[in-house]
Symmetry: C2
Subunit: 212 residues, 2 copies
Amino acid sequence: MTAPPRKRRKEARPSELLGAALALFVDKGFAATRLEDVASRAGVSKGTLYLYYANKAALFKAVVQEGIVPVIVENEAIAARHTGSSFTLLEMLLHNWWTKIGQTDYAGIPKLIVAEARNFPELAQFYYENVISRARALVGACLRRGMASGEFRQLDMETAIDVVIAPILMLLIWRYSFGCCQQGESDPERYLQIHTELLRQGLRQLENESQV
Amino acid sequence: MTAPPRKRRKEARPSELLGAALALFVDKGFAATRLEDVASRAGVSKGTLYLYYANKAALFKAVVQEGIVPVIVENEAIAARHTGSSFTLLEMLLHNWWTKIGQTDYAGIPKLIVAEARNFPELAQFYYENVISRARALVGACLRRGMASGEFRQLDMETAIDVVIAPILMLLIWRYSFGCCQQGESDPERYLQIHTELLRQGLRQLENESQV
DNA sequence: TAAGTTAATGACTTGTTGGTCATTAACTTA
DNA sequence: TAAGTTAATGACCAACAAGTCATTAACTTA
């Protein structure tokens, strides 16, 4: 038995470790993911992982920071430079989110964080500040814009944000919990299309409606 | 140091253990709940717990069996003897669910099961068969009844069931994850009222609508 | 009240995992 | 090629928790 050769690849380790961590976090959750498994999936030993990330929480934060926060930043840029219909902006934000998060392994993070928020308040806090609050602010700004221009009807802002976000969140949560056990695999694309269509109808300012 | 007196209370143990288990499961989740804590909260030692429940999974199943399944059974009875508007029936089912589950500690179980379904497929299976599938069948029967009588419009059944159930589920999931961290405590009663009102509008068969 | 039954205990075993660190070896440079 | 640097390793430690079982003591019955 001769030990396999060690390769020194300082540059490549972080992204390989983050990729392995994402896959396992999404599959098993935060608490149930073993760092030794993350390391071996990335082709290194456990000790090496600790060379790059101080502890499990730091590893998770790095996954979010590298994978999800950039999409928020992109969306903030899209919103900042957008001119035209507010509903179109909403569609663009949703589309970008779906492409970069919903169609990748990152789609499993929302369920993870909802599942473990209570047991790891530090991570919940981090995610809330860096993802949730910024996403809500983004949707809120879009809705406020549409309400100001008369494109959308006047609604309680927090409730309206919930109405926009909740179905998407629920879709991801379900997919990563009972999704596999359930036989009737509903098409997420179609679900989203229906959701968008409902929003188009529901948000629109009707001609005969009084402005509150 | 004299040991506290042992009391022999065979009859009272199960319900006390289930109460303690519910409180801790809802607070910490399934995996993170320690059986020693359940026992001590119920005022007994860990060994005693194992006298009444074979293992952690059996304890959880008993919590669901004793606390949630009876509400499903009640609702099945309500539906069976109901005459009159299908929407009223839907309201009655929702109201009973809210009173017996939503306003009690059992409200935390849906989040727990969604959070841990993948790591404990045996529990997920149990919950799916005994709660989810029966609840969906109940809502489905109610909707089918309303569609048959012309009270509700014709909708894809699985989607319609989702539309009815998802917002309630989301409300409970959020309350038991980020609920505490979030400042703006939205009133769940008002949320449910809005939900019900949306359903009343959304499900209604309009006069000029074509029957598919 | 003595013997029998069984509810209750808690120390113990077993297995797991986050995190550490002394050692090794790949690579660099003089 | 010899000495120095540092990426990488994996044995190890400490903490924790599920589940077991020999022992204890509360209660019952003859």
